[in-house]
């Protein structure tokens, strides 16, 4: 379908009005995915750059990252949660040309199992705030991943990350080259007598679980965890990479 309208709302009110008037519409944030995709049933693009969402709100309890915040802005910010996990994963999202425009909201909403944001956000117990026709809605990242379609037409407004001291953090990202999209991501921290482990990219559905460190590898062979074949590796390859990281976590947990 031909794109007939390109709208740049200046307030949430205008954004909702645009959505109501143009049901066949798509949000544009950094555009790094939208611009090269083909959406046959879309006639309107809604650019969200003027909604004031390229900002990070810092309180004693939480970080509120506006959905239009770019990964470069995150890297340059004072944000300091889960050690330097936030900056570490932002650094890996493509090369600098991508990080300068790609947004956290665009990444969360693009819906791929390999999106770099998902395992760290799962580990950090992030909450997502959405704006839609029925008003504001808040949900945990786990619930969002389970039921993405519920939020299909809503604007992701903010990503909230609780501030808490979790001690040392484990992070591993496997990709063919440093700037390529990931084949496996694992992030973890200690959680009482257990280890909280978040996995993504290698698995069909990113997940987080707390488990005894000695049992970490069992997550990789859980029959409920599904792996997929794609051009970056077949399912068996991905299972093996994940198992290697889980084994490393077992050792990391004993040493730290």
């Amino acid at each position: 379908m031909t794109i007939r309208n390109y709208l740049k709302p200046r307030s949430l009110q205008e954004m909702l009005e645009a959505k109501r008037k143009h049901p066949k519409s798509k949000f544009v944030a950094g555009g790094t995915l939208v611009v090269k995709s083909n959406y046959p049933d879309i006639d309107t693009l809604i650019d969200i750059q003027d909604l004031g969402l390229n900002r990070i709100r810092i309180t004693d309890e939480e970080y509120g990252i506006g959905s239009f915040t770019t990964f470069t802005s995150i890297m340059e910010s004072d944000i300091d949660c889960c050690g330097d996990l936030m900056k570490k994963f932002a650094r890996h999202i493509g090369p600098v040309t991508i990080r300068n425009v790609a947004t956290i909201g665009g990444n969360v909403m693009s819906g791929f199992n390999w999106n770099d944001t998902l395992p760290p956000l799962l580990l950090m117990e992030a909450k997502l705030v959405f704006e839609g026709m029925e008003g504001r809605r808040e949900t945990g990242i786990e619930a969002f991943i389970e039921n993405r379609t519920l939020f299909k037409d809503m604007l992701l407004y903010e990503v909230i990350i609780p501030r808490k001291d979790v001690g040392k953090v484990y992070y591993s990202r496997f990709s063919r080259t440093e700037d390529d999209i990931p084949t496996s991501i694992v992030a973890a921290h200690k959680d009482g007598g257990k280890v909280r482990i978040a996995c993504g990219a290698s698995v069909l559905k990113p997940f987080v679980k707390s488990i005894a460190a000695d049992q970490a590898e069992s997550l990789g062979i859980d029959p409920g965890v599904k792996y997929i074949d794609d051009l970056r590796g077949n399912a068996e390859f991905k299972r093996k990479i994940l198992l290697a990281s889980l084994k490393e976590i077992k050792e990391w947990a004993h040493e730290n």
Binding site: T2, I3, R4, N5, Y6, K8, V28, G31, T32, V35, K36, L45, D47, Q49, T72, G94, P95, V96, T97, I98, N100, V101, E178, D179
Partner: protein, 155 residues
């Protein structure tokens, strides 16, 4: 739709279809230094500087840049008064086929305006979105280090 952009310090107005990509707008308007390589955001041949940051024009709608400021290689100088980076790239042998060169120079420029004395690691990071099939990158790195030195001397 009507789009207003400041390109190389000149105010420009365009009337283009809503889904025009920035690379097409720029090339059609005569900014031929903006090269079409992969069209998927992977090679940096189409790179321009948007509000001080290096971006790929093949994965931006022109409409996203309405009301913003762009720099293309044409904005850095010309054959009669080349930018220091153009001189050091030529002198270091950092240009072979030349297809990546506009993007490489703009990536280097975006680095040097904020960092007058970059390390080799910082140069590699700043140029990480720009691919070169010919030079092996070492001469490009030398050209950036030399330009940084010249720019510091000129201050």
């Amino acid at each position: 739709m009507k789009i207003k952009i400041v390109i190389n310090n000149e105010f420009k107005e365009f009337n283009v279809p809503c889904d025009t990509k920035l690379i097409d707008l720029l090339r059609d308007a005569g900014y031929k230094s903006v090269k079409r390589g992969c069209s998927t955001g992977d090679c940096g041949a189409c790179a321009v500087i948007l509000d001080g940051k290096l971006v790929n024009s093949c994965i931006l709608y022109a409409a996203q840049t309405d009301g913003h400021a762009l720099i293309t290689l044409e904005g850095l100088g010309d054959i009669n008064s080349p930018h220091i980076l153009s001189k050091t790239f030529a002198a270091a042998g950092a240009v072979q086929c030349g297809f990546c060169t506009p993007g490489m120079i703009l990536a280097s420029y975006a680095l040097l305006i904020n960092n007058k004395k970059p390390s080799k690691e910082e140069i590699a990071e700043a140029l990480s979105g720009n691919l070169c099939r010919c030079t092996g990158y070492e001469k490009i790195e030398q050209a950036v280090l030399k330009a940084a030195e010249e720019m510091r001397k000129g201050e």
